[in-house]
């Protein structure tokens, strides 16, 4: 066959139950190019990648590598065919060194020392060729996220990958680290590698790819040269109908902060420390918290919502102290005071996966008189409430008896939000409002947050998505290494400015 593509997909389909995650996907990637795959969350990108990498088997359709039809039964087949994948969540053993991680599973000899030395020689050659400079003998846990990602890429190259799949590689990076990644991607391309670059951020597609395939609702909707398109066109292709933000902002002026953190210090995870946090959230405004994941946002949410103790300082809600060095208020009491909490990690914290949607509809409110009296659950009232949540938020499928795990991320989140706003809270604390949520639901959730703000509620939002924060916040505070680097009105904020602050540059804060 002449002019074969490095990797090609023909009519790939994959269903989960009634959901067609991929429907006749077509993909053609010429060798030695960077090929972008864009699509909203839930469009079916991950499913496609997992099929290309042998993690899922297609219901129908073919995968061709260099013109040869392949039948992958597991990732080792894909690797043997020269495909390497860098997952969104790194597959590294943290206490192991970079070198140990790279040879893990490909030691090639029972004698580890000999294997390491052989690998080292080969790695130094690879590093030279592609311009890496990794500390091979440093444990991974001591490395920054960007360096870990490079280790993952080197690992794939070490295994002979000619085609590299990068799944949302920039999700965890600062804008500056992104630039370094782009430079590396270009270098890999110059050396003849083929790269599949998967993202939902359009400026990245424009910056680094040669061609781009747009996926929407499981289907290929467009394939074109990057040079021949522009972000606006891609956005429209990606989203389908134009998304309109219709809720207008209202300006609110109040004197008392609904939530105030004064000189708060707290111990975080992995040796992180929250230092000297001062924040205020007023009624009728959305305060966004930006930052690269793992810089204290999780801990911040926890100290506010009664899940983590404060070492120094005070947290006020309205006029009342809800936390200081001796006091942690129980989340149930906080809810009764009018705080609602949409947890950052939905599956880990916000819902009980194996329980039904109905049982999840009362999580955190199980002690309210509405749902139990004398210690006995009011099953009828609970069922009615769950049904009402399903109705008002349009949660699908409309069956509250199903385990919450069998709903899509967006539908889970809609249910959680329904639960949390049901009692008309004065303060909403929201972590990652649209993580893992499909585009239709994203708009709805953003509109809902804005409506609550217009209704005079105080809202604190932590998000890893800058676009999201820029579109829903009134003010944005940036966290880095456990500190608030600065706070600014959204009118003054740009991605570059926020990016520098996320990397710890305090000069930008004014």
């Amino acid at each position: 066959m002449t002019n074969a593509f490095a990797i090609e997909a023909r009519g790939l389909s994959k269903s989960f139950g009634d959901v067609k995650a991929n429907d006749q996907i077509a993909l053609k990637v010429p060798g030695g190019t960077v090929h972008g795959i864009v699509g909203e969350n839930g469009a079916g990108k991950s499913t496609l990648l997992k099929m290309l990498f042998g993690l899922y088997r297609a219901d129908s359709g073919d995968i061709l590598v260099c013109g040869q039809t392949q039948h992958f039964t597991d990732p080792s087949d894909a690797m043997a065919a020269g495909i390497g994948m860098v997952h969104q969540h790194f597959m590294l053993v943290e206490p192991f060194t970079v070198l140990e991680n790279i040879i893990l599973g490909a030691e090639g000899s029972a004698n580890l020392d000999a294997a390491k030395e052989a690998a080292r020689a080969k790695l130094l050659m690879l590093e030279d060729q592609f311009g890496f400079n990794l500390p091979l003998d440093t444990p991974v846990e001591k490395l920054s996220v960007g360096v870990r990602q490079r280790a993952e890429i080197l690992k794939a190259l070490y295994r002979g990958a000619e085609i590299l799949i990068l799944d949302e590689p920039t999700a965890v990076l600062t804008p500056q680290e992104c630039e370094q990644l782009f430079a590396l991607v270009r270098q890999l391309k110059d050396q003849g590698k083929t790269i599949l670059f998967v993202t939902h951020k359009l400026h990245e597609i424009m910056a680094v790819t040669d061609d781009v395939t747009v996926i929407r609702a499981g289907k290929t909707v467009a394939e074109c040269k990057t040079a021949d398109t522009n972000p606006e066109e891609l956005a429209e292709l990606m989203v389908g109908a134009k998304v309109v933000r219709k809720t207008a902002r209202k300006q609110h002026e109040t004197e008392i902060a609904r939530l105030r953190l004064t000189d708060v210090h707290a111990d975080g995870d992995h040796g992180l420390e929250l230092k000297d946090i001062n924040l205020e959230v007023f009624d009728g405004e959305v305060l966004g918290i930006a930052g690269v994941a793992g810089n204290g946002q999780t801990e911040l949410l926890e100290i506010i919502t009664g899940l983590r103790a404060v070492r120094e300082g005070v947290i006020h809600m309205g006029g009342e102290i809800i936390a200081n060095d001796r006091l942690v208020t129980n989340p149930i009491a906080l809810r009764r005071m009018g705080m609602a909490h949409v947890a950052e990690d939905r599956l880990k914290t916000g819902v009980v996966e194996s329980m039904s949607a109905r049982d999840n509809a009362i999580l955190g409110y199980q002690r309210e008189k509405e749902f139990s009296s004398g210690g006995i659950l009011k099953l009828k009232a609970i069922a009615q409430k769950a049904a009402a949540y399903f109705e008002t938020q349009d949660v699908r499928p409309r069956n509250p008896d199903l385990p919450i795990a069998s709903f899509s991320g967006g539908n889970q989140q809609k249910l959680v939000i329904a639960r949390e706003i049901a009692r008309d809270p004065q303060l909403m604390v929201i972590g990652q409002p649209t993580r893992g949520v499909d585009i239709g639901a994203v708009t709805k959730i953003h509109d809902q947050i804005t409506e609550l703000r217009n209704a005079g509620k105080a809202i604190l939002v932590v998000s890893a998505d800058l676009d999201e924060l820029l579109s829903i916040s009134d003010r944005i505070a940036v966290m880095c290494e456990g500190e608030i680097v600065g706070t600014m009105n959204v009118e003054d904020a740009t991605e570059t400015k926020l990016g520098l602050m996320m990397a710890g540059d305090k000069r930008e804060a004014s």
Binding site: F16, G17, D18, V19, A21, S46, T47, T305, G306, L307, N330, P331, I332, A333, R335, H341, A343, D345, K348, T349, G350, V351, V352, E353, S354, M355, D359, I362, L363, G364, Q366, R367, F371, S372, G375, I376, L377, L379, P403, A405, S406, S408
Partner: protein
């Protein structure tokens, strides 16, 4: 992404346990065949021994009563995310609490003694579970390790008491004096006689009814009360429990104590129903078999009662089999019980994957 389709309820609750059981019986049959006996005849002897005559049925249900208590004990802890394998020790301590209550007030009022004995059995069993529970909740010492160590401590404690302060005066055996007259749970055959009909149900006694009440109570607690809801949330997801304002520490301790209390009540059947004295080894491994009963019963009270009946039948039918077929000694009966535990408990998921594949195959064909 939508989750893969799981098995329908009936396949999970009935088909899989049946397959596990058949596999266990198949292997047992091979063993019996190897011993030179006819497996089918052995099976019919076992079934006959367990259900073929009045006293056999009585014994089957008598043993089943023990398993209901210990099975429920395992399941309550399991729903709170805890693996309580200390049922054996908790049952021993329950027996001790029961005995102390009996000797404390037995001479004053037999009725009061019985009531106090029920409370004592549950309280001592629960208290014995408290220490591992507290260590788990506060210090993170794993209950699997601590409860199993507490089994040994319980055994040693009972042995000491029964050759020391609690030993029958003048006796040589590790057992207590007999309970005072009238301090016992009525045998059901006596109850039947009072109601005007005859059914020779052997040692089967009122604690069987108490066991059924406990099963209903556990069901109600887990799925109808707020406490049960919170317990299940803790068992499924501790982060979500904290998020919902539930104290994981407190729930861990309470769930383990309920679990221990249920295990402790096993003594009602053995001691207050039949032996009428405290014996050093009265638990006979029922606490451990409770684990298999709970898993085979899918940790649901209805399933546990059914699984307990199965194990009761195995115990009783096995004893009859050993009696009828001299080639098959008592040890082989234990082997058969062991095979059932192995297939139903430890290798519970042996057939899950193939069965799921068959179901998926058919549902895809239907969809196509």
């Amino acid at each position: 992404m939508a989750a893969q389709k799981k098995l329908p309820f009936w396949a999970d609750a009935i088909l899989l346990p049946t397959l596990n059981l058949l596999a266990a019986f198949l292997v047992s049959g091979l063993v019996i065949w190897g011993l030179g006996e006819d497996p089918l005849e052995a099976l019919s002897l076992m079934v006959d021994g367990a259900f073929g005559f009045q006293e056999g049925v009585g014994y089957t249900f008598y043993y089943a009563t023990n398993f209901v208590f210990t099975g429920l004990a395992v399941s309550v802890a399991y729903h709170a995310g805890l693996f309580n394998i200390g049922g054996e020790g908790q049952a021993m301590l329950g027996g001790l609490g029961l005995t102390l209550a009996v000797f404390l007030v037995g001479d004053v009022s037999p009725v009061l003694a019985v009531l106090l004995a029920i409370v004592g059995a549950a309280a001592f069993g629960g208290a014995w579970a408290f220490i591992p529970a507290y260590l788990q909740a506060k210090r993170g010492s794993h209950v699997v390790i601590t409860t199993i160590m507490f089994n040994f401590i319980a055994s040693a404690l009972l042995a000491y008491l029964l050759v020391g302060p609690l030993q029958r005066p003048g006796g040589q055996m590790p057992e207590s004096a007999d309970f005072p007259d009238g301090v016992s749970l009525m045998h059901l055959q006596d109850l039947f006689a009072m109601m005007g009909f005859t059914y020779e149900s052997g040692p089967l006694n009122l604690s069987a009814l108490i066991a059924v009440l406990c099963a209903v109570g556990v069901w109600f607690m887990l799925w109808r009360t707020r406490f049960g809801y919170e317990l299940r949330v803790v068992g499924q997801n501790q982060n979500a429990a904290r998020y919902a304002g539930i104290s994981v520490t407190r729930m861990t301790v309470i769930a383990m104590m309920i679990s221990g209390g249920l295990a402790g009540m096993m003594g009602l059947n053995e001691l207050l129903g039949e032996q009428l004295r405290l014996l050093g080894n009265f638990t006979l491994g029922y606490g451990f078999v409770g684990i298999a009963v709970a898993f085979m019963g899918r940790n649901h009270p209805v399933g546990i009662v059914l699984a307990a009946m199965l194990f009761g039948a195995l115990y009783q039918g096995g004893a009859e089999l050993a009696f009828e077929m001299p080639n098959i000694q008592r040890d082989y009966i234990v082997l058969i019980q062991g095979l059932v535990i192995l297939f139903a408990g430890a290798m519970e998921h042996l057939f899950r994957d193939p069965v799921e594949r068959v179901f998926r195959h058919f549902s895809e064909r239907r969809a196509a």
